[in-house]
């Protein structure tokens, strides 16, 4: 019984996703998955270097650059993969997509401002570059995740301009 309840037909799931979501909503899901996935990869890469090393000597630059490049490549590859697997050719965008995008950008702006402000304070306090750079990077990641979540909530719950 449990196995029946948990069984999900992958093709019907793809059909549901294709029919229920527009191109921009699917794209937002991909951006969210990439943002979270790449950040977890970055955390794993950094945590291995932090152990037993003074923070000032931790080489965070390589993983941070690789994480940035990885997020760009992963976003492109996942968009292509999705289009191939699901067979979606619909890439239309309309006024609702643009309004949802603006709403998400507005919500996601605040973590970025907070990250930049934190980095400014850390720089004034002359803390290690590690903390300053990671405050900015963290701001970008949280901003990206917040933007995506806000957009997905707007797609699902609705968007009121009033």
């Amino acid at each position: 019984m449990l196995s029946v309840a948990l069984y999900i037909d992958p093709m019907s799931s793809f059909s549901y996703v294709r029919d229920a979501m527009g191109y921009k909503e699917r794209s937002t899901w991909i951006e969210l998955v990439v943002a979270v996935g790449v950040f977890l990869w970055y955390l794993a890469a950094i945590s291995g270097r932090v152990r037993g090393t003074p923070i000032a000597d931790v080489a965070f630059q390589g993983p941070m650059i690789r994480a940035t490049l990885l997020s760009i490549v992963a976003t492109i590859v996942l968009h292509f993969a999705y289009a191939i697997v699901v067979g979606s050719r619909d890439t239309q965008e309309d006024q609702r997509d643009r309004q949802v995008a603006r709403f998400g950008d507005w919500v996601g702006m605040w973590p970025l401002v907070f990250g930049a402000g934190t980095a400014l304070v850390l720089a004034m306090l002359e803390l290690d570059h590690f903390w300053v750079a990671n405050a900015i990077y963290g701001g970008f990641v949280v901003s990206s995740v917040t933007t995506s979540v806000a957009r997905l909530v707007a797609y699902q719950r609705g968007l009121s301009l009033a």
Binding site: G22, D90, Q95, Q99, Y155, G158, L159
Partner: protein, 75 residues
């Protein structure tokens, strides 16, 4: 701008069925929006711009207020 349902109600679904059971895809194409936006409008999750609302009403050949309604303020 907030993520919440709109107060605007509409008769788009009923109008589609009264016009030869027009599909959401056909209406979307004639109005120039995605099918998901027509779904969101019908479910009351999105109120379209005035321009799109006029285009929808025009597809069905009805006045705007026959397609879209807004509740009276009480108080």
């Amino acid at each position: 701008m907030t993520a919440k349902p709109t107060k605007v109600t509409n008769e788009v679904r009923a109008l589609r069925f009264r016009h030869g059971e027009m599909t959401q895809a056909e209406l979307a194409e004639r109005v120039g929006v995605t099918r998901q936006t027509i779904i969101a409008i019908e479910q009351g999750r999105y109120s379209p711009s005035l321009e799109v609302a006029f285009r929808i009403a025009r597809v069905f050949g009805v006045p705007l207020e026959e397609a879209f309604q807004y509740p009276e303020d009480r108080g």
